[in-house]
Symmetry: C2
Subunit: 332 residues, 2 copies
Amino acid sequence: MITQQIILTSRPRGVPTLDNFAFERVLLPDMHQDEVLLQGLYYSVDPYMRGRMNDRKSYVAPFVVGQPMEGGVVAKVLDSKSDNFKPGDLVTAGLPWRVLNIVPSIWLQKIDITHVPASYYLGILGMPGLTAYIGLLDIGKPKAGETVVVSAAAGAVGIIVGQIAKIQGCRVIGIAGSDEKSRLLKEEFGFDEAVNYKSTSNLKAVISHLCPGGVDVYFDNVGGEISDAVIRNINFDARIPLCGQISIYNSSEYPRGPRLQPMLLSRSALMQGFIVSNYQFRYPEAIQQLNQWLNDGLLKYTETIVHGFDQLPNALLGLFKGDNTGKMIVEA
Amino acid sequence: MITQQIILTSRPRGVPTLDNFAFERVLLPDMHQDEVLLQGLYYSVDPYMRGRMNDRKSYVAPFVVGQPMEGGVVAKVLDSKSDNFKPGDLVTAGLPWRVLNIVPSIWLQKIDITHVPASYYLGILGMPGLTAYIGLLDIGKPKAGETVVVSAAAGAVGIIVGQIAKIQGCRVIGIAGSDEKSRLLKEEFGFDEAVNYKSTSNLKAVISHLCPGGVDVYFDNVGGEISDAVIRNINFDARIPLCGQISIYNSSEYPRGPRLQPMLLSRSALMQGFIVSNYQFRYPEAIQQLNQWLNDGLLKYTETIVHGFDQLPNALLGLFKGDNTGKMIVEA
């Protein structure tokens, strides 16, 4: 059986381009016992994928040049040699970027779409939702009445972080990349304040103005100068979960900036990098609670859905231009 | 009664000089009920004092221009209007830099010199010892078999941190500012390795060589490029207690350097500023344990003692030139 796949043809220096990808036709192997044939329905594109495009050891192995890209996918079972899956079942898995895949059934998790759309399992009920929940609650440890600032606030993780912080009784300020995103955060997602960093000349002063009592938790999705501005406003005993550094993922140089240790020291602040896959023991509680909040209407969710398997590279590049509000998804 | 005091006459820009200080004769007030007359025996000079010379809010209030410097002192009671103190008692307190002081007795803590010299209460049994104990054990959380790196390793705090890490069963590497200090750390204080950063052209490579399994705990007393070099070698789940930043205390500019968040993120590392005075609930256990280790010969201690009250400004400036091995003390 022949299918289409998207491979990494070269490692980007700086911002990736479409030239780093190629489409190929590939012959799938025969299906063996305990394997299933899958058709991809929804493909996740995520900022962390940029790191995997480098030839540098990080917390996930690099993509291999000449091999398919891979990521989270919601797929439909077309054929099965497993007792646990039958045609028509919907599953999630980490899969190569192919239209069809044959994989061992132990890679798969069944999903239940009775109450939520299938694509939610790549977002609020998947890695981004778990990241928001665990990063904010386990590392940020917000207390009612505290002030929480989140960057990339209209992104897949940030938009959930802000809402969970509101549920905890915090004052929540979001930083986003357009006036429209800022408006949405306040009007649709219940953020107390939101600021468009692109139209702000002195972000440090704006954060200071919006957070007159200082910043207790800064959920950092971006790094760089945006984070510098927030961190200059932290309170004593502040907590800074480091979730992402999208502002500098495309830097070829080792980026420089103001040294933050003197600030962390004088404020007794904590900065903690975390990778959600090291907190799997927390997943059952997190998923149960996120589902509950969704059902109760306490959490709203939004996606930017791009149509067409062939749009996967474009959608990934769009993350670095801020094309998405909420989770960026490609529907095949 | 007339005594001599040392005042701050101007705030330094960059490295302090003797011109920032002046000696004055001052008339002490009459002694009231519950007050005592003290004669200073040992005066502590500490790197954190540099921060108090700036007009910048930090975790301790700035020194006041025109007013005496102040710090930890071991003093003898000369006269007392308190039921709790009698002439001849030895005490510690935070006191103005004066030869004689009249202060309320509630400022004072009696000390016991049966087993240790009085000056130890400004060092291993005082703030530096508590800082080493609490910063390493509560924040660094070293486990047996892990690798611990400490900077300013021959300083008042570092020399204790390294020895406590050895007691915990760790491999310990010290970074110091001379060959003689490095030799002492290895031969006298039991460090596994020590490196003189001043004669090292590529500290990152040297740390990598000395820590083939990577760095699990980095106790940071210095900041700046030394810390950059260590942090490039941290392991997954590394912990970095931020204790001091002596390398940049004298910077007038807001110093810049490589951004560390990407490293902390990819290694799931923790960086935590701490100020020992916020851990007073830990003092009784810490003091009891430090005394025990001293008595058992598991902890060695060393001081650099400068003689003469009038040498206090010089001794303070000497900290920033690395004049001291172990705790810097001025004996009046």
